[in-house]
């Protein structure tokens, strides 16, 4: 059983279709990145998963359950929306104590101390949250979301509005949660670099549809136009003339000792190496060229613009 399952999900608002036949799954312990431009339907998907909105069609399950009317299942889920869910007039400790009461956390004092230490807010525990910076509120919001040790935690734009230092802290914190507490993390983010660093799987939503759904590794290495970079002991441009005529090489770029070839067939790499060695070139290194998640994202989001 997957931690999150979405099958054939559709939802419209006032006749406007926001989600159309969306399907994906998130395995236990995965850090899953849900990507898409503004208005793509990411938050709507999360709201449906959390039982806040009903789907028009399709089925959603979190830990095998429908969260809409299941208090027990909701007790196993953590949530961080753009708003941190904190009351400005209450202290950090009182805010956490409130949620500890709602979720029935045992030994709340101990857990609150542990989490305040984790997010480096121990010395501000009794200060009103209204006096905190945006980054401090975000950190406290994350502590609140994981207070009850949820099995799945939904984070909606956790780095939004944070400076680079705070973004890094949030990123490290998410990775630590995934590793140490074995939580499944459902991350809705615009920070593609952040997603590439911490997510194991991603889905790209655009125009109400899933445009790509795969592991980050597969997405960044697999391509319709696979490429390899060969580091030679000099003479990259001459090697380009040699292999550029081969039928499976669709593109070639020689720059100093580096030769970058785009292949028509991903299995043709050994043939390319054999051709280079046969022509007398000395090879120092061969690596499969990967693309950034940003390139892949833009490719899919751009592709969706013409197809609603």
């Amino acid at each position: 059983m997957n931690a999150v399952e979405v099958r054939g999900l559709s939802r419209s608002f006032d006749g406007r279709e926001i989600l159309r036949d969306v399907s994906f799954t998130v395995g236990h312990g995965e850090v899953f990145g849900y990507l898409g431009p503004n208005g793509a339907g990411k938050t709507t998907t999360i709201r449906i998963l959390l039982g806040l909105l009903a789907p028009d069609a399709g089925e959603v399950r979190v830990l095998g359950r429908d969260l809409a009317d299941d208090d027990d299942a909701r007790a196993r889920i953590g949530v961080l929306f753009e708003n941190n869910g904190l009351a400005d007039r209450m202290s950090a400790a009182d805010n956490l104590a409130y949620y500890a009461g709602l979720y029935g956390v045992e030994d709340p004092g101990e857990r609150i101390d542990e989490l305040l230490a984790l997010v480096d807010l121990t010395d501000r525990r009794d200060d009103p949250v209204g006096t905190f910076s945006t980054g401090m509120k975000r950190k406290l919001g994350i502590a609140r979301a994981i207070l009850h040790r949820p099995e799945v935690v939904f984070l909606d734009e956790p780095s939004s509005g944070l400076d680079p230092g705070a973004q890094r802290m949030v990123r490290d914190l998410i990775l630590e949660l995934s590793r140490r507490e074995e939580m499944t993390v459902f991350l809705n983010s615009h920070h593609l670099d952040e997603v590439q660093r911490i997510c194991s799987t991603v889905a790209i939503l655009a125009g109400g549809r899933i445009r790509a759904f795969d592991s980050v590794e597969n997405l960044t290495t697999a391509s319709s136009r696979p490429a390899v970079t060969v580091v030679l002991a000099g003479a990259g441009d001459r090697a380009c003339e040699t292999v550029g005529r081969l039928p499976y090489v669709t593109g070639c770029d020689g720059n100093g000792g580096n030769l970058r070839c785009t292949l028509a067939d991903p299995t043709a790499t050994p043939d390319l190496i054999a051709a280079l060695v046969g022509a007398g070139f000395r090879i120092e290194e061969v690596r499969r060229s990967s693309r950034s998640l940003e390139e892949i994202y833009l490719e899919h989001v751009g592709q969706s613009e013409g197809s609603p």
């Binding site: 959390l50 909105l53 909701r74 889920i77 708003n83 941190n84 209450m90 009461g101 709602l102």
Partner: protein, 230 residues
């Protein structure tokens, strides 16, 4: 501690930390009864029952207004800033959330109303020289009828604030207040004075309104709340 108590205690704590609402409530709790006391003292002469009835008459609208005032913090603020969405994901039913919040609003609103009643009684007693605070029917009114009406008002206003958008809330807030005051005035016109019968009727109507509030709150859905978050 059960979730009802957790929610109610938090709302009370937040109300007591909200200086601007507390100051507004205190000004209203003192200013309105002092002005009313002049009218009560002038119109009732030295009849203790009529004086007590006059005090009872003004405590209900004061209580309803206090409920409205504190609802703005407990229901509307969380909707405006979006934190209600996080609460809706907690393992607590929407009905329980509404009950806890309504109770958390009722307690500070009731305390403010008691302060207001005490100020009115003191002002009337000072102006007439007749002690009215110990009237048993007035005490019954303050102990039973007033809190039930405040809870009903807080429950109804709270449910409406959860279900409606910001603009509708601005309009309907006044409609609710004037609706309640119209109902109180109409009831006081139909069954005037302070008697066991009068108090029984007011208590019965108050409980009916509370039941209506509970029924309406039961019809509010999470989807309705989420879709009206600004």
């Amino acid at each position: 501690m059960n979730t009802f108590a957790v929610i109610a205690r938090r709302e009370m704590g937040l109300a007591l930390r909200n200086r601007s609402i507390l100051i507004s409530a205190l000004i209203f709790a003192v200013w309105f009864p002092v002005m009313s006391a002049l009218g009560i003292a002038a119109g009732a002469g030295d009849d203790v029952t009529v004086l007590a009835g006059g005090i009872a008459t003004i405590t209900l609208p004061v209580g309803v207004f206090m409920g409205y005032l504190f609802c703005a913090d407990a229901f509307l603020r969380e909707k405006r800033d979006g934190s209600i969405e996080t609460l809706l994901c907690a393992p607590v039913s929407l009905q329980r959330l509404w009950e806890g919040k309504a109770a958390g609003v009722t307690v500070p609103a009731y305390l403010m109303t008691l302060i207001s009643a005490a100020v009115t009684a003191a002002a009337v007693s000072t102006l007439t020289g007749i002690p009215v605070a110990a009237d048993p029917l007035l005490l019954l009114h303050l102990a039973v009828v007033v809190p039930v009406w405040i809870a009903a008002a807080a429950g109804l206003i709270g449910a409406a604030q959860l279900a409606l958008g910001m603009r509708e809330n601005q309009i309907l807030g006044f409609v609710f207040i004037f609706g309640f005051i119209f109902l109180i005035v109409a009831l006081q016109g139909a069954v005037p004075g302070l008697s066991v019968t009068t108090e029984g009727i007011f208590a019965a109507v108050g409980f009916a309104l509370l039941a209506l509030a509970r029924f309406i709150a039961g019809k509010v859905t999470k989807e309705r709340i989420v879709r009206t978050i600004p």
